[in-house]
Amino acid sequence: MSPSKLVSLSEAVSRWVPDGAAVAMGCAFEALIPFAAGHEMIRQEKKRLTLIGPISDILFDQLVGAGCVSRIQAAWVGNVITGSAYPFRRAVEEGRLKVEDHSNLTLAMALKAGAMGLSFMPARTALGSDLFQTNPGLKTLTCPFTGQTLTAVSAICPDVAVVHVQRADALGNSHMWGNLGVTREACLASRHVLMTAEEIVDSEVLLSDPNRVVVPGFRVSAVVHAPWGAHPSPVPGYYNRDHEAFLDYQKQSRTPRGFDRWKEKWVDPVGKGYRYPELLGKDRMEALMIQHRRPSVPVDYGY
């Protein structure tokens, strides 16, 4: 048997997310956002991170607010159901944060290039736009076959992809379902994969359905058991989106002082023993849990 990769959240973040690291997160867009891992980066007071992701739905904003971030490569940073996010705005407007502006497609292509071991990928988007002014990773290119102008998107290879999955084993095998966004590309493009999981299960569960695996286990550096680790974002099969938490954060983060209060309540108290579910409370968890089950019809991998 290969050695277990199962470690505590603090150990995983301490080892695989050093100061200055380029970190891909939020790669499934609105779902499965690794909030637990992001909050641990805040607790460990990480510095000078580069954050990479399509949209980030307040996680990037929270890390910016906590002073962990010096650069962002993203298509959109904000709060999906309200719009702009204050700490991000403040940081850019005050010149404290460098942003490389992508679209969802150019970011997907940048990670795809990284995943495929290529230095760039072509695209037909963004041509004529000002994204070329604020992203040195975009250039124009002439197609060698058609002579047409295309966008060339420079590869992004993160130091670590931080992903939250539904179920994993101690070896890094995992199942993820729902919309996957750019998760597959981010995992394959990154030097390391730090995986948090709702459940740790027996390997047999995962090997029973190899098409459900997003990235092969040998590419995973650490596995962390983090139930409710994507809250307030939704996790298919486990819990719904907690809209209230997004609205509360928006209100509280309006001022730096309000942001600190939010952090004192939701980030600081979670410790090495990881007791976020306790902080969340039983009633709130119950309200968010799946009410209408819809199990998949199995398939057979026999011989």
Partner: protein, 275 residues
């Protein structure tokens, strides 16, 4: 009885009417999301919805949703895949129509959702493109949904996040864009189309109770008006019933004011946790 419908409900209805049956629709957030659901339940039952996070669905979600990533929008979807799969459909030319919003628009339909006041030293940083730039570049046509204010309707946008017709006729082809361009702008005041020859935005329809003069005063360039100006039809009772089924708490559509949640700004609405 107060107003029979809210300003946002009127805009949702107008958005829905831009969708023809059997079209493939790249659905954005907020008003377009509701507009698509409305179209599916009225005149466009075979329309297919595509979402940038990697979702295709041709049936309505089984429960009300606040965002495209809410679990009911995934349950029973036709396809759950990757961003490059759904963006591939778009880039390949298989998407008929898409919807995007903006903070600033100009006479050629270019949109800014990134930097107010220029990117070198921005007065205001907005969230950025998301998929908007892609939808504006690659759909066969796209529709812009916006609040109509003079500071937003500028002669030239401060930053072009999502290309419209650029600097006018021929610009898109010159830039290398394979197709498309904006076909309509739906605002809080009216509906605009684009002149085929000049590529310039033209007022095509005013909302009930709105004068052309009001629209002109809120537009930062000399606005042209279509020869046969229409009045935007109000939502029918059937349409309102559908909208309210999908936004039961009025989170997106409830505001009586002309500030719409669609716009990328903080709002001061009563917060509710919509289940």
């Amino acid at each position: 009885m107060e107003d029979a419908y809210t300003p946002v409900e009127l805009m949702v209805t107008a958005a829905a009417r831009e969708i023809a049956d059997e079209e493939v629709v790249f659905v954005g957030m907020r008003i377009p999301l509701l507009g698509f659901l409305l179209a599916k339940h009225t005149h466009a039952p075979h329309a297919v919805g595509v979402y940038e996070l990697g979702v295709v669905r041709d049936t309505p979600a089984p429960s009300s949703i606040l965002t495209m990533g809410d679990l009911p929008n995934l349950s029973g979807a036709s396809w759950l895949a990757n961003t490059d799969d759904t963006m591939g459909l778009l880039q390949r030319g298989l998407v008929d129509v898409s919807f995007i919003g903006g903070a600033q628009v100009d006479r050629f339909g270019n949109l800014n959702t990134s930097y107010i006041g220029g990117w070198r030293s921005p007065g205001t940083r907005l969230p950025g493109s998301g998929g908007a730039c892609d939808l504006a570049c690659l759909a066969k046509r796209h529709i812009i949904v916006m609040v109509h204010e003079r500071r937003r309707f500028k002669k030239r946008v401060d930053y072009m996040t999502s290309p419209g017709y650029g600097e006018g006729p021929g610009w898109r082809a010159q830039a290398g864009l394979p197709r498309g361009g904006p076909s309509a702008v739906i605002t809080t005041l009216g509906i605009f189309r684009f002149d085929e020859d000049s590529c310039e935005m033209v007022l095509a329809s005013v909302h009930p109770g709105v004068s052309v003069e009001t629209v002109r005063s809120q537009t930062g360039w000399p606005l042209k008006v279509a020869p046969h100006l229409l009045q935007t039809p109000v939502p029918t009772e059937a349409e309102l019933a559908v909208i309210r089924r999908f936004d039961p708490e009025g989170y997106w559509t409830g505001s009586k004011k002309e500030s719409i949640p669609f716009v990328e700004e903080a709002r001061s609405r009563k917060k509710k946790n919509i289940p």
